[in-house]
């Protein structure tokens, strides 16, 4: 059969699955109903995600590129996935490697550009080289490659997903679908063992940690929640162990900071980590000539102590994901291990204690994502017998818009099943306001400036109306590929504005993580700030309404009442300029008390006027207008 295949010039295109990883990438396909990875001529399926650009224009990918990295640090791009979807001037990318960067082009898209041999290389282009290499690997095995399913971290946002898709296009691949890595892993497990139930996927890779809780039911993979700590991976273990070795070798602070020394220490640490998987004790000879100790000994117990804090961070993300899924740990039918870092024995012990059950580890954690991707590709385009499978995935981070006072109003919460849509109605805050500015943000924080800004657009040309009269309906729509569209409609005029939100660069893992961590760290500060901003908005409304009323109904004011109200007003306005939410609230209550008699008098007049006109509709309208002040009070009081 295989011989026939080899000599068949018209081989049928076969769909493939690709795990485009930070450290390593793999390609897999389904053969005789079972997924398997494709190995290169050295027999290895893992292709290091490293791209070297030679002076003669040749591009080298994988193991050979890895060997060139030390001698050609600026011409060899490592961990390029971390640059995908980043802005040209993103300061964080400057710390990720010894690269030369080009500034942003005036006309071009806002992307990172490496300067290699005087040429600009983007992360999309470098990723495309890796994908092209994988495609060629697949072509050698299959002769003809069809569509591809490519996996992405569950936390990748629109921009990063788009960049991944662009890289695939550049590599000449037709993308059938982008699938989240943990979901792909679950697919491999679920179909392999025909298991149904509730599962957690613990995905601990080289640079990211992802956790997903999902239900497997008769071929449907329904994601309930996803979470993670995407600035956390095996690299962090290496760093801790490198420090430990440096201390044991007796290296001075000065020596251990040298880039070359750091490189050697990290490589030693990684090798030591790998050896500790089987050995209880590892002795590492000291490679540095002028250091006091000749060797360092690391026990597995010591290593476990070192990495424990890292594992506790994964534990937090897991507990949160389980909570978000609305389930209990005891309800889980299985825990799936993914990623190279789960080879560390202590990680397995920790996961077992965390979930109260031994994790499933029977599929190679380095390969399981690619195998799942192959299964999904086969499902979408493969020939022959197929299982009925379907993935129902979720939005990884909340989407919202900025409202009065810089507060975020969440329109679509994280973990909403996609595709989805949601509407919200807003109103004007100023009399005669003729436009709305809509600021679309993504993240979990309550304050807009702390979230990632996705887009800003204006809905203009609204006829002037009193504050609170215009009704702006905003619709968020997220399609099956995770892309967001926003539509705003002013309901009284029917004015519509429609925008595709395609961020020129997305949220990178670290930013997402940082935003999530910030949301945790500053949760309390956030709430206080939110209260302050809300109180400020309310205070502004109340002050405006009062100022208007004392002009319009000046004759209703008792002697001295105007002065009392104005004093309270001044105090309120002063407090609103300050930072003390409670003080603003206190001043609002004071103004409330100061205007009580006046408000009652206005109400009486409104009713009397309306009754004189004998128009019930206008009675209601007038009474409502007179109620203006009290309503503002009621609003802030009810919060």
């Amino acid at each position: 059969m295989m011989l026939l295949d080899i000599f068949d010039p018209k081989a049928k295109p076969r769909p493939i699955g690709i795990d485009l990883g930070t450290t390593n990438s793999l390609v897999a396909y389904v053969r005789d109903g079972r997924p398997e990875t494709i190995a290169d001529c050295d027999g290895s399926a893992l292709v290091p995600s490293i791209v070297h650009y030679a002076r003669n224009g040749a591009v080298i990918v994988g193991d050979r590129a890895k060997r060139l990295a030390e001698a050609h640090p600026q011409e060899t791009l490592v961990s390029v996935k971390r640059f995908l979807g980043r802005g040209a001037d993103d300061p964080e990318t400057r710390q990720l490697g010894p690269y030369a960067f080009l500034p942003r082009e005036a006309e071009g898209p806002d992307v990172v550009r490496f300067s290699v041999h005087g040429k600009a290389i983007t992360p999309v282009e470098a990723s495309a080289e890796i994908l092209r290499n994988l495609k060629e690997l697949a072509e050698e095995e299959l002769h003809s490659v069809g569509g591809a399913v490519i996996t992405v971290p569950a936390y990748f946002d629109d921009g990063q997903r788009q960049a991944t898709k662009d890289a695939a296009k550049l590599a000449g691949l037709r993308v059938l679908r982008l699938v989240n890595e943990p979901t792909a892993a679950a697919l491999a497990y679920g179909l392999d063992a025909k298991r149904d139930g509730l599962f957690a996927v613990y995905d601990f890779g080289g640079g990211t940690f992802d956790v997903t809780v999902l239900v497997l039911d008769d071929g449907v993979f329904q994601v309930k929640s996803t979470g993670g700590d995407s600035a956390l991976g095996g690299d962090d273990m290496d760093r801790l162990l490198a420090d430990e070795l440096a201390t044991a070798f007796g290296l001075t602070e000065e020596v251990r900071k040298k880039p070359a020394v750091v490189r050697v220490l990290l490589d030693l640490a990684r090798a030591t980590k790998h050896r500790l998987t089987d050995a209880e004790t590892v002795t590492v000879p000291n490679p540095f000539v002028d250091a006091p100790a000749s060797a360092a000994t690391v026990t597995r117990d010591r290593f476990d102590v070192l990495v424990k804090p890292l594992l506790e961070r994964t534990g937090k993300a897991c507990r949160r994901a389980v909570r978000d899924a609305g389930v209990e740990v005891a309800e889980l039918d299985g825990v799936i291990l993914v990623g190279g870092s789960t080879r560390v024995p202590y990680v397995r012990t920790y996961v077992e204690a965390l979930f109260g059950q031994a994790p499933l580890g029977d599929i190679d954690p380095d390969q399981v994502v690619a195998l799942g991707a192959a299964l999904q590709a086969h499902q979408l385009e493969g020939e022959g017998e197929k299982e009925e499978i379907l993935l129902l995935d979720v939005l990884p981070l909340s989407l919202g818009i900025e409202v009065g006072g810089g507060v975020v109003d969440k329109i679509l919460p994280r973990n909403t099943t996609i595709p989805t849509a949601s509407k919200s109605v807003y109103t004007t805050q100023e009399d005669g306001q003729t436009g709305f500015v809509l600021h679309v943000v993504q993240g979990e924080r309550e304050i807009a400036s702390d979230c990632r800004s996705l887009a800003t657009f204006t809905l203009a040309g609204i006829p002037p109306m009193a504050a609170g009269m215009a009704r702006l309906e905003v619709t968020f729509r997220v399609d099956v590929d995770g892309l967001l569209t926003v539509e705003a409609r002013e309901q009284t005029t029917g004015k519509v504005q429609h925008v595709d939100v395609k961020p020129s660069y997305g949220l990178d893992d670290e930013t997402v993580e940082k935003m999530l961590l910030d949301a945790l760290d500053h949760g309390e500060a956030d709430l206080q700030l939110r209260r302050l901003l809300e109180n400020r908005v309310e205070a502004g409304r109340l002050a405006k309404a009062t100022q208007k009323a004392i002009v319009v109904d000046v004759d209703l004011l008792e002697a001295g009442e105007k002065e009392t109200i104005e004093a309270a007003l001044t105090a309120l306005i002063a407090s609103a300029a300050g930072e003390d939410a409670a003080k603003i609230k206190f001043r609002m209550d004071e103004l409330d008390a100061a205007t009580k008699g006046f408000a009652a008098a206005r109400m009486n007049r409104a009713i009397a006027t309306a009754i004189a006109g004998k128009d019930v509709g206008s009675i209601e309208a007038t009474v409502e207008a007179a109620l203006g002040i009290e309503e503002a009070h009621a609003r802030h009081g009810a919060r």
Partner: protein, 175 residues
């Protein structure tokens, strides 16, 4: 357009088993997920249907929006200006509990936050049980709307309170 209840093949009633709803979502997903089609036009149409279904799923999951849907079916308006104002006693009680929650937050008093949340959860469960009873086996036109609206109003307050309490506990768990 069918109601979310009809869409998922569920009876239009307040008492809803979330596990049953989830299963219904999976079953529906099998027939209307865009991945089940290859023709672009067909995929677009299915994507639209899936969007509607997922919106409906979200609305049914949340007791507040579920109740709002049921009122809508009964022709009863909800929201600002249509619902009876909460009694002064209720508002006072909520105000006091919120103050107690804020204090417990500041003093990092976990036991109090948990106790308050448990108390509100009990009240919420009672309100949900009351709504279940009011909506159970009733022809929409014969719905006793006023008491049901009062419970809906209470549910809004309970939801907000529990969100805050949960957020507080989450933060402490993570600290």
């Amino acid at each position: 357009m069918p109601t979310p209840f009809a869409l998922f093949g569920l009876p239009a009633t307040f008492a809803l088993d979330l596990k049953v709803l989830e299963r219904a979502q999976r079953e529906l997903g099998k027939t209307i997920h865009p991945d089940t089609a290859s023709d672009p036009a067909e995929r677009r149409a299915l994507a639209e249907q899936s969007t509607v279904a997922n919106e409906g799923y979200r609305a049914l999951r949340d007791p507040v929006t579920r109740a709002e849907l049921l009122f809508q079916l009964a022709g009863v308006a909800t929201g600002d200006g249509h619902e009876p104002k909460p009694t002064a006693a209720f508002l006072m009680d909520m105000l006091e509990k919120r103050e107690a929650l804020a204090e417990a937050r500041t003093s990092k008093d976990r036991a109090t936050v948990e106790a308050l949340a448990a108390e509100i959860r009990t009240q919420r469960n009672a309100a949900e049980a009351a709504l279940s009873a009011l909506f159970s086996g009733v022809v929409p036109s014969q719905l006793d709307a006023q008491p049901a609206l009062v419970h809906l109003g209470s549910l809004r307050y309970y939801r907000r309170f529990l969100e805050e309490a949960t957020a507080t506990l989450d933060e402490w768990d993570d600290a």
